[in-house]
Symmetry: C2
Subunit: 354 residues, 2 copies
Amino acid sequence: TPAPSGSVRLAVIGGDGIGPEVTAEALKVLEVAAPDGVGFEQTAYDLGAERYLATGEVLPDSVLAEIREHDAILLGAVGGKPNDPNLPPGILERGLLLRLRFELDHYVNLRPSRIFPGVTSPLADPGDVDFVVVREGTEGPYTGNGGALRVGTPAEIATEVSVNTAYGVQRVVRDAFARAARRPRKKLTLVHKTNVLVHAGSLWWRTVQAVATEFPDVTVDYIHVDAAMIFLATDPARFDVVVTDNLFGDILTDLAAAITGGIGLAASGNVNPDRTSPSMFEPVHGSAPDIAGQQKADPTAAILSTSLLLDHLGYADAAAAVEDAVVADLADREPGSTRRTSEVGDAIAARVAG
Amino acid sequence: TPAPSGSVRLAVIGGDGIGPEVTAEALKVLEVAAPDGVGFEQTAYDLGAERYLATGEVLPDSVLAEIREHDAILLGAVGGKPNDPNLPPGILERGLLLRLRFELDHYVNLRPSRIFPGVTSPLADPGDVDFVVVREGTEGPYTGNGGALRVGTPAEIATEVSVNTAYGVQRVVRDAFARAARRPRKKLTLVHKTNVLVHAGSLWWRTVQAVATEFPDVTVDYIHVDAAMIFLATDPARFDVVVTDNLFGDILTDLAAAITGGIGLAASGNVNPDRTSPSMFEPVHGSAPDIAGQQKADPTAAILSTSLLLDHLGYADAAAAVEDAVVADLADREPGSTRRTSEVGDAIAARVAG
Ligand SMILES: CC(C)[C@H](C(=O)O)[C@@H](O)C(=O)O
Ligand SMILES: CC(C)[C@H](C(=O)O)[C@@H](O)C(=O)O
């Protein structure tokens, strides 16, 4: 797919809490990193907890329709104060974040994990960690299938249904193999729980085996999700590309972020590889309302998300330049440094400008 | 409930691989630890991969009926060689382990995690870790509900259904609160994913809130399962009693075992607190066929499981004696020591006797 040239239409959802602050720095870096002749035509969308509390709206259909007309989406973070009685639990997660992922068919939720030089891991001896999780984004236990009966009575029953289709599993597995084939180690690990979740597990495992024949250079590995936790704690360097379902991917990637220096550094892309709709890039962290508006937030994860965005748009060199600038900045950070959010953005932008 | 006195009927399932070896050491310690006048009347049951490969039987109904007539079950480990073509994946897990847990209504899957003195954690600075996970054992995504359609075609769909009932959630939550109330810190953390799995999540959260009124001394905390991973990697000392569903508990407890020194030390109890059927105690580790029969396996987890067994039977002093002996043995272990399985058992048994 040729990269859009000239003008890239970018929908920007700063969101709540520290979201707008880190997004401002991400945009700063993006402007500097853009290849010659490429400009980002930004439209800001006011969505999130504040918008909901003010108007009762989460994601109006008309706004979704507008967002669809963009080349990409940059998202900061959404979420209000913990336990705000006016904010029903999960309403933004499902009504905004997950709705965007599902409506825009972001079937590849891409989450790289790497221990950058200078970054401290909580693990005493993590080794050389550099892997990427390809988390399925449109199926599994996240579909909102399931329900409840006799709610509030002693006879209540609540179900959650994990939905897995050949269509959905194949496309994400094929994407993961293609990524593995492009990496030096060329290794793909399926993480699932095939010994208990036999129907879904069997579909995932058969699909991996079938798609493997298209990628003879890629080594295939399988680990149960519980054992994967042990490896992440004791030998995370063993992973290269991990493919897994929506819920396992959620759990795995937070642990992966923790052992590689924290969710302050974890970037993600909600990608539609077929480009039938705009992909969305966001830091894995939340809106951290306790430190909002104080220029205390670390914008690194948001900035790294723009590297994924640039790469997705086909600007591989610009993507690498952003990542390199972040790597250099991290290596130079003083322990206990208290640079302001904008100072970190300025420093990284200056390195990209070079 | 008064402890059975005189003779305790113990069903022993050594299983496969290192299972029989570690079980022998657990029994050695159990004999020594038994209070005066209490004897363990053992019946060995030959179940597991070998039995299945030889006879095609996993858990005959008649054997299950016999096992039911015991006061407790001690299990080593089951599982054959990886990828044995004659062993359908998951057949022992579901047909034996999970079948026992479900048939015997082991609704409390008890998994303590503690960093014992002298034990090395993969975390650089784990802090003072001592918590217990109360994992639900008879519901959730482990029920085998769900199914598949058009298997093997491009239109395949596979579902897994997590089943959660007020009956099932309440009893395990109440058990977890009672355990929290007996511990010094008196803190209970619910781990779930209420913002996405809204039906099940709501039932769990409402149940925790309702049962909390019966335990006013216990502090209640809630963490999403993904965030719980981060805390386990960065601040595991924050946990006291964790209550969670079957699948989240599976994932959490393997990570908990990893950060507290490995599954070589992790004990577990599949407990029926109502004592309507025998509870089952087993190390969390598997059958490790690669080192079977070589006296290389560490029997510590199996031995610690007998401490849980003794405690469940009401022999609190004997349970403490076993745990203390293990703690003392661990503190004295030489780094890189290669004691044989039986030597470890002998040493711990001697300390209990001592
Ligand atoms: C906020 C929540 C719905 C979301 C998820 O579970 O996917 C988040 O945890 C993430 O990983 O992006
Ligand atoms: C073997 C498997 C079925 C089992 C589980 O998932 O419960 C194991 O992982 C455990 O944690 O005891």
